[in-house]
């Protein structure tokens, strides 16, 4: 509703240009292909010592080698599998748990809603990284703990969003109409509420994925996430930090991949929301 002088001609509306989004989508696709087909795509094995440590990039090793002399490109490809797979597992778990509790809070209402919401409020009042560090110090660094903790933290936000969307949509008259013809709760969820929550939930999935992905990368970087010799982008940054002292940029390679993937997913998310603008 912005007010302007009638004499000034407005600029053409800004639209997200398609080219960066296409590039982002291609990059995401490439990462996914690498993650799924790492065994076939990677030129060398995940833990094979193939050359001298921290070799400069050449034809045999386009991204150089790491601190033990393993091929960086192969490690990046295998790392895609760990980093993306882990993040997807975390977000999927988070959506199952957070979504289920969110829907339960909406449908049950009353006491159940109040209790679940207060507990979520408590955990959301704490810094996520501190929660994760606490859990990891208690149970030691393991992939299972890492996944569970990250999924738990992400599920808090998924819960809040699902609950808010559910409350909002359930208050619309067409849901009353469905209830008044005695459609089952499951049918109302599936046919009336879910289709209207789909777009915000999908964009939230993207956001949560980026968050989980960066979170895992950070923990691995701190040495508390994925443990060697499994390749993982965050851990690879940590392992290769020493290269900086020799004037090599090796640790920046996995770091750049982390940044590129996170940016790409965000770009695609923004694009989807802009295209389906006002779907909420």
């Amino acid at each position: 509703m912005s007010l302007t002088d009638a004499t000034s001609r407005p600029a053409a509306p800004s639209r997200l240009s398609g080219v960066p989004v296409m590039l982002a989508a291609l990059f995401c696709l490439a990462c996914l292909v690498c993650a799924l087909g790492a065994d076939w795509i990677a030129p060398y094995g995940e833990a094979d010592l193939v050359a001298m440590p921290w070799q400069a990039p050449d034809l045999a090793h386009p991204l150089g080698t790491d601190q033990l002399g393993r091929d960086m490109l192969s490690r990046i490809i295998f790392g895609a599998r760990t980093s993306i797979g882990l993040s997807l597992a975390i977000v999927t778990l988070a959506f199952m748990v957070g979504g289920a509790f969110g829907l339960a809070a909406v449908t049950l209402g009353g006491w159940a809603d109040a209790v679940i919401s207060r507990v979520v409020d408590l955990f959301m009042a704490l810094p996520p990284l501190v929660l994760a560090l606490l859990a990891l110090s208690v149970s030691g660094t393991s992939l299972v703990t890492l996944t569970l903790v990250a999924a738990f933290i992400a599920s808090l936000r998924v819960f809040r969003l699902t609950r808010a969307l559910g409350v909002d949509i359930a208050a619309r008259d067409f849901v009353d109409v469905a209830r008044l013809r005695r459609d089952s709760t499951a049918r109302i969820m599936w046919r009336e509420i879910l289709p209207n929550a789909a777009i915000p939930l999908i964009s939230e999935f993207g956001l949560r994925f980026v968050f989980a992905f960066l979170f895992v990368a950070s923990l691995s970087f701190l040495g508390l996430g994925v443990q060697p010799p499994t390749a993982d982008w965050g851990g690879m940054v940590r392992e290769n930090v020493g290269a900086l002292n020799y004037g090599r940029l090796t640790p920046l390679v996995p770091a750049a991949f982390i940044a590129l993937l996170a940016i790409s997913v965000n770009l695609i998310g923004d694009y989807v929301v802009a295209r389906r603008g006002g779907a909420r």
Binding site: S2, L3, T7, P10, P13, F174, L180, R182
Partner: protein, 543 residues
Amino acid sequence: MNGSAPLLEIKGLHVEAVLPNGGIATILDDISLTLGRGEVMGLIGESGAGKSTLGLTALGAVRGGAYVRSGEVKLDGVDLLKGGPALLRDIRGRRVAYVAQSAASAFNPAFRLIDQVIETSVQRRLMSRAQARQRAIELFARLELPSPETFGEKFPHQASGGQLQRAMTAMAMCARPDLIVFDEPTTALDVTTQIEVILAVRQAIREEGMAGLYISHDLALVAQMADAILVLRHGKMVESGSTAQVIEAPTADYTRRLIAARNLRHAPQPERPPLLELKGIAAGYGNVSIIEKLDLVVPQGRTLAVVGESGSGKSTLGKVICGLLPHRAGSLAFAGRRLEPDMHRRPLDDLRDIQMVHQNPDLALNPRQRVGEIIGAPLSRFQGLRGAARDVAVAALLEQVELKPEFAERRPGALSGGQKQRVCIARALAARPRLIVCDEVTSALDPLVADGVLKLLARLQAEQGVSYLFITHDFGAVEALADHVAVMRHGALVAAGPARQVLNPPYHPYTEALIRAVPELRLGWLDGVIAARATQTPDRRST
């Protein structure tokens, strides 16, 4: 300054807007008008007609991505569109002022009203602060705001909607502009509040001698406020002339239909036995009681109109009857059997027999479903129809509500407001109900569209014998449909009975106040009200 030029002269005005997809939409197409000093012109049209855009151009402003493609907007002979930003700043507030539809959001929440009212005069150095305050207090008194001396000390959230609308008028008048643009200033108000505001505004305009552009979708209201009327539709001028000419001898077909839209009358019908009986119904949310001890009867195949202002509990009543909000006391009897308070405990037959049509079709239709699914769902549930048989039934229902069968394939987003409401009616009919609760079904619609929906409801009742509980604040709709009328206020019944009896003298005083507050489409109606008031109670400084 050119002494012979009219105050405002708009010539050949074209306004366009850039759409989000990059396309161009025409908002105003070749509009011309002339307004003399001290004259008020009414701009009338349905939503999307471009009347608000036209009003804003008198201040050299547009909203959200619009721009003037060609044309002139001359104030005292000077084209505002050629003067640049400095000229626009100079005339805004000082020579042309604006009163918005929603005063509640048009006032800055962080400041006291008085500081906002005198802002133009003080910041533009038209008056000293003390003079401006004095002037504002005079205007508060003239606009009949309570305790004018101290009213301005309130923050916006501390005043009521009707008060804010008057304060906004005072703000516009404070710097003594030549022209005020009123953009639907009373649309968001209840009728009894609206009448107070328009009375005060009309008197103030006369006494101050200002010219006005009065924008509204309500022809009857505009006829009371304006000397001349310009009818707009789809951005084009349909008709313009003096108010008397437009009201009494309209030339355009569209104007004639607009005038006729107010004149639907329901012929008295023979009495029928009761279908739904409410005895001593009480209901509310949490600790708040909304309805208390309500007794009502809806006869078979007839219409009971429930009339009231916002907060009267009339919409809550609809929820109670459907079982969405279980009542706390009293009893509901339907066709001789008792209705459970809670819908979950009602048998499916009871749910089928009572259907509901909501106020806002955008909320009542699932935007992700096709019309065929929306109407098909109750057919499957209540008639057990599937597949091709269901498709045939959907097509038949669409025909009954005067929509083409192709609509079954569309989603609600592709329909107009009136078409959506017809789909809602078709969905209700699909259950073959005996009673339809209609909750303000016409209040979100433009007058002509509402008229069509009312005619449809009347025809369906005549053909199928369905009863309506018709919840509304609009007496026009009551006259068009109601056999019986119940007037509600603060959750209780004020008057009830056959329509002829309730809507004619001797009235209950509140019913009379409600009816008298609805503008009538005849010249001099408001003057009559003013004259009548002058002889009656002197004190009406409230709300």
